[in-house]
Symmetry: C2
Subunit: 211 residues, 2 copies
């Protein structure tokens, strides 16, 4: 199956399906009806049927979805069945929190190293991952087939660091810095803008107070 056959709107919902199917597997659920899944996910059953029809192979009407099969197929589309090497730039609390984040492996990412400028952190390990001197990142990227970097730097440093990493061969960023990176078009950037999320929270609380 080719990812390009699936519409962007469906793609956007796949991570959530994948998460729910993973939870069902953990609970040893083998089959589930669209009605049951719909109640759990708080999405309409017809939306679920429509979305999951993209993946075919459901068995008979009324018999429900094969959880393992769907989980595997969606995993292939998402690319989490492959391993991607990743480095973390910035060994502060957030960088260390990410290094401790077990979902990395589950989602097909292998953390190879953390980089920082702080000599007090260099040489330490987080969950077996070494914190290394940022000066050595170029050599490390080349020798370890690294194409992805998580950025947990202050916003003032992120653009320059990202540009340098692109020059070293990095193709994709998981960006936690509170800034939009300006990079060549073929570079993938997935942002986690905590500051904007916090403002959305603030807006919603503020609106709630006015009701």
């Amino acid at each position: 199956m080719n990812a390009k056959e699936i519409s962007p709107a469906v793609i956007k919902r796949l991570p959530r399906y994948y998460r729910y199917l993973g939870e069902l597997l953990e609970n040893e659920v083998v089959r589930i009806s669209s009605k049951e899944l719909s109640e759990r996910m708080q999405v309409t059953a017809s939306q679920i049927r429509q979305d999951l029809n993209n993946f075919g192979g459901f068995g008979q009407q009324g018999y429900g979805y094969n959880v393992q099969y769907l989980y595997t197929e969606i995993g292939k589309i998402l690319g989490v069945n492959q391993t991607n090497n990743i480095i973390i730039i910035g060994a502060g609390n957030l960088g260390q929190a990410l290094a401790n984040y077990q979902d990395f492996e589950k989602r097909g990412f292998a953390i190879k190293a953390i980089f920082d400028v702080n000599p007090r952190l260099i040489g330490l390990t987080v969950r077996g991952v070494e914190i290394m001197d940022i000066e050595t990142v170029g050599k490390f990227v080349k020798e370890n087939d690294i194409r992805i970097a998580a950025l947990t730097l202050p916003k003032q440093k992120a653009q320059k660091a990202a540009q340098e990493l692109v020059d070293l061969g990095i193709k994709a960023f998981w960006n936690f810095a509170s800034v939009d990176l300006h990079l060549p078009e073929d570079i993938v950037v997935e942002n986690v803008h905590l500051s904007e999320s916090l403002m959305t929270l603030s807006y919603r609380i503020n609106s709630m107070n006015q009701q």
Copy 2:
């Protein structure tokens, strides 16, 4: 100005405008044209004009936007001009990273305490904020007018903790646990689902490889 007059689509874009206007202020920019702002934000100038027309008061045509005025007005809509007390549940790396996160204050949130079950952490402070025993959270919430909690717990513990916090009077959650919380409708939940963001990254890298 009442938040209800602004359309949801505009509201969704406000945090990003607010972030850019804040950066302009930091750089002591007093006025900016929609063309310049458009180039920085990589949004069309007409989109910007349309969105910011909601806030009026721009001075003459061709004279540009008053940065401070717009920043203040958007801040009011977002509610970041008020102070909201917040507690963090979970003093692991992510909870500590949040406590160190300076944007909290900038966005009108005051972190009052962090709560955990781990006796080795209780009594420590992070940037002046004390880590307290989760057993004392009920009393603390009542005595300190807390209505918002950031959840940085393992997903298995999040739903139960959230339900208990609602019973104690918490009205809003900034949820980092990789699970959808099922709570009464009047409770605000703003999710940061890192796991889904990571899968989106994986998908985009995977698609890139196929090109």
